[in-house]
Point group: C2
Chain length 568, copies 2
């Protein structure tokens, strides 16, 4: 029986809570709140949802994760890649249908994560290889940045692949709204500058470290404030600048989402991919931060934490959330000690939702797009593409496929093709295992590869050492290799498979051994085994293979050769 | 440059052709023709096509395979499982649309196989594990037999899953046509008896071996003749017995099939699965037979042979074909020496199509269904299900999933879920590799598992031997294992990964090593490697990992410990 605290990490960390931790957590919460307000609005827009949905998804989910999650510093909420995936999953719906679809997606994702956590299926995330994840995130970053250009240029285009977006932009180039472009491009430049230089500039003019830091983090909210003032002062809404518009004031009452089975059938596959990508992104951030402080995170409990966060998002009219990289690093750097920081952040966002929403009506969409563009460009990582290319062409091909399919056909085909290709390439690599014909080193009981050592062999006995587990993907290779060896060596009477490195023989390979033995018998050759590992032998003893097997199973290769030489 | 004969095996085997081989091939051809006529009609009906299509698919494809295939005795044509898969793929079409869809399927399958052959992609078939193939064939056999019951009972039902078929039969039980049932059940009993006993009975009454054999093989065609005579003599067509009806006389003129891109988009996935299953079935038959005579077949050239056969089928208004088990064994047993036997069989079928089709109008459909039922029951292999269950629960679960999904949802979901499940289970098995903390055996330079041997260790040095290649599916396991070890041993200053059994480190695992090294450095521990294999080292040298790596890479573990002990 697991201890209750392992399911409720909050019981663990809340024990030692004191004034010092409280101060650290409060400061971190203020900084993260300032950062999260424009981000939440922007990512909701990226997902194709009204901006307030982003705020709703940044309150209860944070509290749920603080109760169930194992990371001390992970900051949960709407993130760029998951928002893009949400946009792609709900793109066929409009108006309130889109809201219902988003809530259903969060609910499904929550239950999928929860179930995976309870069944301890966290290992499924291992099927996403590093090149596939990194390729997918780079491609998503490019796609997200491109998708925001329409708001920066003030034009209206449709489609969610790179080609659609680019050809759409090109065809609309005559309709650019220059005021929107000035606001958007200005915001991008300012945000980019503040990310790279603002802190050091402030420090150079004498602002102390922490204040410089807070001011830098406040750059997005400052951009929001300035552009709202500009649109209001010069009535830019009437000049064709698209504004966020009226946002309902107040918090949504928590309510159980309606369950529509037709919708669930359509959304279950995207929900699974969103859960998987969200989990992988979140866990890698959490592990990186935990390692710095010698803390540990528990992946299966993380599934439960993220599952709870998504269910919380669903009951507060939100959309899928996960742990975000940028905001978690900010939270960590700002000194957050415990998940209480996230609870304070949630309270901050709740207050903002209650008080600030009326101010946001005049916010230009271009400002939010600028926030997104600057945030996601850090996801684009061409250096890691180059590194993988240099290291392994096979890993690179999975990565390239993921990037190209994501850009060309969208996020879901992108992930799926990357995962399938890396599985196939891995199986291909292990489908041709190393095998060596071995002979005896004179005056010893040792056997080595005949191609590398001067060894004794016997024309009537051929010994083949197999340096890999035998399973369905490489059994045909074994069959062919033996067929070739037998065709080349006409005088063979005994063939010994030497198995010290065979950790597993699956049912397909047992079938192959039967077939090989049968075929060899037809040719007057007897198959034998030697140095079979204990667990493998136990398993073979449960089959008919050994019952019908006319050869011997030798404990040691030396014994095999001695016995067979006497027979010959 | 490959020799032309390797692409055209006919140039090879036709060289030594003489009167003796001719006689053997002719006799085999007569026996196979007699067997193939009712089977071709029956399988076409199973595929939901007019019976003559089965004959068309048994002429040119045989000749094409004789030219391009590498097996001397494989008999190509319509087979049960591929016919069922065709039925499932074209079930939404009726009338001439169904014919067009079948031809398109053959054409697509031909090009897919040809392309796989040219690109040497035969290894893709290795992804079908033995339990999945065998489960799929058993389930298909059951499904095919069940689907034929409607013709035996003389009722009309729809649907192609086990549940649909069985509930359909149940609801139609009042409408059974008793004459049809008598004909059908009588045929089943006679065919089953002749398969099991006829040969030995005939031999007991003094018929010689070869004649008894031919008479036994003629049982299906005899059943066809008798039931035609019965329906004609007693005018059973007017008693509600469903007959085959008028069959167009003559051979179809070869013509290039029309290409409809909409149809291709729909049929490409089923065509791929049909190609894969057909190839696997055909190759395993061909390999079994070739091994008996010390001949070899070349899988990649087999793809070209089967591809040519399917394209030939498409241009002769046929449907997908492959090498069949039963007929190939008959061909082999009847003494076929070369593919010329198949060419003679093709001529035999062509003559039959020209002359016999008018006689088939009064053939009851129940007779053909009886032929199918008796033929496919040999596909059902519960013993192999039991064997796999006993040997490995993990292999069995893939097999059970394949069987249940095939029976419950149809052939395509069945294969796909079986393949995916066996891939996932394999990755799961290799995702937790064996690793051992090792220490030095006193007074030697050898190192062994500390849990099994009395060995010397050093509190500040921890050596971990990894007994598996490192790749994306097991990298997290390595990270966690190291994290645990470090948490347990507070006095560690150096951690050595001992890699004599690591055949591969993929890009994901390199990323992990970087992360591990970085995290250990944060904790004041230095990572080192030892006994890295040559090819793995070559590859690592192409990365930044070694450039930024502060630890050492030792050639031998003994050297590692000696050096690090001096440092400590």
């Amino acid at each position: 029986m697991k201890k209750i605290t392992s399911y409720l990490p909050i019981l663990e960390w809340s024990k030692g809570y004191n004034r010092l931790t409280l101060t650290s957590d409060l400061i971190a919460a203020v900084i993260v709140t300032i950062m999260l307000i424009p981000q939440s609005l922007a990512y909701a827009m990226l997902a194709g949802l009204p901006p307030e949905i982003g705020l709703y998804a940044s309150i209860l989910p944070l509290i749920a994760y603080a109760i169930f999650g194992t990371s001390r510093t992970l900051a949960v909420g709407p993130v760029a890649v998951v928002s893009l995936m949400t946009a792609s999953a709900i793109s066929q719906y409009g108006g309130t249908d889109a809201l219902t679809a988003a809530v259903t997606l969060a609910l499904l994702s929550g239950f999928i994560l929860l179930l995976m956590g309870i069944l301890k299926l966290g290992f499924i995330a291992n099927f996403l290889s590093q090149p596939v994840i990194s390729g997918f995130i780079t491609a998503s970053g490019l796609l997200i940045a491109a998708s925001q250009l329409k708001n920066i240029f003030g034009v209206s285009i449709h489609g969610d692949t790179m080609i659609d977006i680019m050809s759409g932009l090109w065809s609309q180039i005559h309709a650019v709204n220059w005021i929107t472009l000035a606001l958007g491009a200005g915001s991008v430049v300012f945000l980019y500058f503040s990310r790279l230089r603002l802190k050091s500039c402030l420090q150079a003019i004498g602002v102390n470290g922490r204040s410089a830091d807070i001011l830098t983090r406040a750059a997005p909210i400052l951009t929001v404030a300035i552009t709202i003032w500009l649109t209001t002062a010069f009535d830019l809404g009437n000049e064709g600048v698209s504004l966020v518009g009226a946002i309902p004031q107040g918090l949504p009452a928590p309510k159980l989402p309606m369950v529509d089975f037709e919708l669930i059938k359509i959304l279950i596959a995207p929900a699974f991919l969103i859960s998987l990508i969200g989990f992988v992104e979140s866990v890698s951030v959490a592990e990186t931060l935990a390692a710095k402080r010698r803390q540990r995170i528990v992946p299966d409990q993380e599934l439960i934490g993220l599952g709870a966060a998504n269910i919380a998002s669903a009951i507060s009219s939100g959309y899928p959330v996960t742990g975000g990289f940028a905001r978690s690093v900010v939270n960590y750097d700002a000194g957050a000690e415990t998940p209480a920081a996230s609870i304070f952040t949630a309270l901050g966002i709740a207050v903002a939702t209650l008080l600030l929403t009326p101010l946001l009506a005049n916010l230009p969409q271009a400002t939010l797009s600028a926030t997104i563009i600057v945030a996601v460009l850090s996801l684009v990582d061409f250096r890691s593409v180059a590194r993988v290319y240099k290291y392994s062409k096979s890993d690179f091909s999975a990565m390239a496929a993921t990037i190209l399919v994501t850009l060309g056909f969208g996020v879901e085909p992108g992930v799926v093709s990357g995962v399938l290709l890396s599985l196939i390439l891995h199986l291909y690599r292990t489908s041709k295992p190393h095998m060596a014909v071995i002979g005896q080193i004179p005056d010893t009981e040792h056997f080595r590869n005949i191609e590398r050592h001067d060894v004794l062999t016997d024309d009537s006995i051929l010994s083949l050492r197999i340096d890999e587990s035998l399973y369905f993907a490489n059994r045909r290779f074994l069959e062919n290799r033996i067929e070739e060896l037998v065709a080349k060596n006409a005088s063979i009477k005994h063939l010994v498979l030497v198995c010290p490195a065979v950790n597993l023989i699956d049912a397909s390979a047992v079938e192959s051994l039967e077939m090989i033995s049968h075929r060899l018998n037809n040719l007057g050759i007897q198959l034998h085994l030697s140095e079979v590992k204990g667990p493998v032998m136990d398993r073979l003893q449960r089959t008919d293979f050994l019952k019908n097997f006319k050869g011997s199973v030798f404990l040691r290769q030396y014994e095999a050769v001695m016995t067979l030489q006497k027979k010959a």
